[in-house]
């Protein structure tokens, strides 16, 4: 009798609570059915052998829960994992590298410094990968077991026709966004962000106090640190927008109307921010402006105007080119990509 009870509990302890009682009763009556009237321990063993491994039996009872991420989500899961892993590693590498270059103090030899930097990059990349894997898996496990269905998404899509292949070729010819473009724009974001955040150590008027590069000393800073700090929230917002846009570009990998509009909004925001900053006389260090004016014997306003002009022109060109590329595909393709 003992063997029977422990077999049953081996099965039921692996099952959800509300299923247990019923299955326990059923199993017990089944086992008793299988035994002859006057049974021995040997008979019990034979019967239990027929029923097989209790773990297997329990697995069969809740077959639905045997996987963490099912076939319905698997493909999306792997895709998201790849994109998230790539981005976290690439952004991490760029940030650490640019930061490392700018904070090089010249005390250690360049060789050891780079070695140390590479090791740091490697370790934190591995760390990042673990984080990404963990969180993406958690989210998808939740989606899977909360019963969120991708069916709705699939049924929204129009049925496939060979015409889509023709459109796909058009996309490849005119509208694809190369991956290197995305990574370059990330690099650019990190570069300007690092320079601006370290502006007090980097930007300003340099005086030659000794020989060569090492003799250069930062004499007067370009910005008033306190005022620049007030712009920090906007700058961080700009960084987030740039990174977000890059990730979005990477994900859809082609120009769409939506992307063109987002690109336009981004350019508006960055140009407005730039103009406000250039116009803010409190932002710039008075001493720096004085040195510049006396050194070059001109008014500085032409410089500001030129910079602003260049930025506006570049932004307009990029906005227009975005819309141009998006327009090269018919409307339906935009619909398909959305889903």
């Amino acid at each position: 009798m003992n063997l029977i009870e422990s077999y049953i509990s081996e099965v039921t302890r692996r099952l959800p609570k509300k299923m247990r009682e019923d299955i326990e009763l059923e199993l017990r009556s089944t086992i008793e059915d299988m035994l002859p009237d006057d049974f021995t321990d040997e008979d019990v063993k034979n019967v239990l052998m027929k029923l097989g491994d209790p773990a297997n039996m329990a697995n069969e009872y809740h077959a639905k829960l045997r996987y963490i991420i099912g076939p319905l989500f698997y493909e999306t899961y792997i895709n998201v994992l790849i994109v998230a892993a790539t981005f976290s590693v690439v952004i991490n590498c760029i940030v650490l590298f640019v930061n490392g270059i700018f904070t090089f103090d010249g005390e250690t030899s360049l060789f050891t410094y780079i070695g140390g930097l590479l090791l740091k990059i490697l370790l934190s990349s591995l760390n990042n990968l673990a984080y990404v894997f963990f969180w993406v898996t958690i989210v998808f496990t939740f989606l899977e077991h909360a019963g969120v269905s991708t069916e709705k998404v699939y049924t929204k899509r129009k049925p496939w026709t060979p015409d889509e292949l023709v459109e796909l070729q058009k996309v490849k010819q005119h509208r694809q966004i190369p991956k290197c473009e995305v990574f370059f724009s990330l690099f650019w974001t990190v570069l300007w962000a690092t320079i601006l955040l370290n502006a007090s150590d980097l930007l300003g008027w340099y005086e030659q106090t000794g020989k060569g590069l090492e003799g250069l000393r930062l004499e007067t800073q370009l910005f008033n640190g306190d005022v620049l700090l007030m712009y920090a929230p906007y700058l961080i917002l700009l960084i987030l927008i740039e990174v977000g846009l890059a990730i979005y570009k990477f994900f859809i990998a082609r120009w769409t109307k939506q992307l063109a509009y987002l690109n336009m909004l981004y350019h508006f925001f960055s140009v407005v921010l730039l103009l406000v900053m250039l116009n803010d006389s409190a932002l710039f260090n008075e001493k720096f402006i004085k040195i510049m004016t006396t050194s070059f014997k001109t008014n500085l306003s032409w410089l500001t105007v030129t910079i602003a002009g260049f930025m506006i022109l570049a932004s307009i060109l990029d906005i227009v080119s975005g819309f141009n590329k998006a327009r090269k595909a018919p409307f339906e393709i935009n619909q398909i990509i959305k889903h």
Binding site: E26, E32, D33
Partner: protein, 112 residues
């Protein structure tokens, strides 16, 4: 090699198991009596598969169940629901058709 054959055989049989079980539940049966009926018909089924299968079919509303506590040992009886009867008819027709097609194809293959 033999592992592969085994898994292919299991796969081939998996769908037919449901049909076999449904066919024997025109009248109420409890777990072990169902096993015996299947064995009488030379259908061997892993018991660790059968009992969970019965519960799943019940959850899919193909079967109804009832505990009989009048005898000295309580037993859970399963039987086809109306919906189950309907499904069984359709599956049966599907099977007969598939079997016919496959038989004629396989026999054709041998005679060639």
């Amino acid at each position: 090699m033999s592992d592969l054959i085994l898994s292919l055989k299991t796969e081939l049989r998996r769908g037919t198991l449901t049909l076999a079980v449904l066919s024997q539940l025109q009248s109420p049966q409890y777990g072990y009596s169902l096993v015996q009926r299947l064995e009488e018909n030379n259908v061997s089924i892993d018991q660790s598969t059968l009992y969970p299968l019965l519960r799943r079919l019940e959850k899919q509303e193909l079967l109804t169940s009832e505990w009989d506590t009048t005898e000295n040992r309580p037993r859970k009886y399963y039987m086809l629901s109306d919906f189950g009867r309907e499904v069984f008819q359709q599956l049966k027709e599907e099977w007969l058709q598939t079997a016919m097609q496959l038989n004629s194809m396989l026999q054709g293959g041998i005679s060639e």
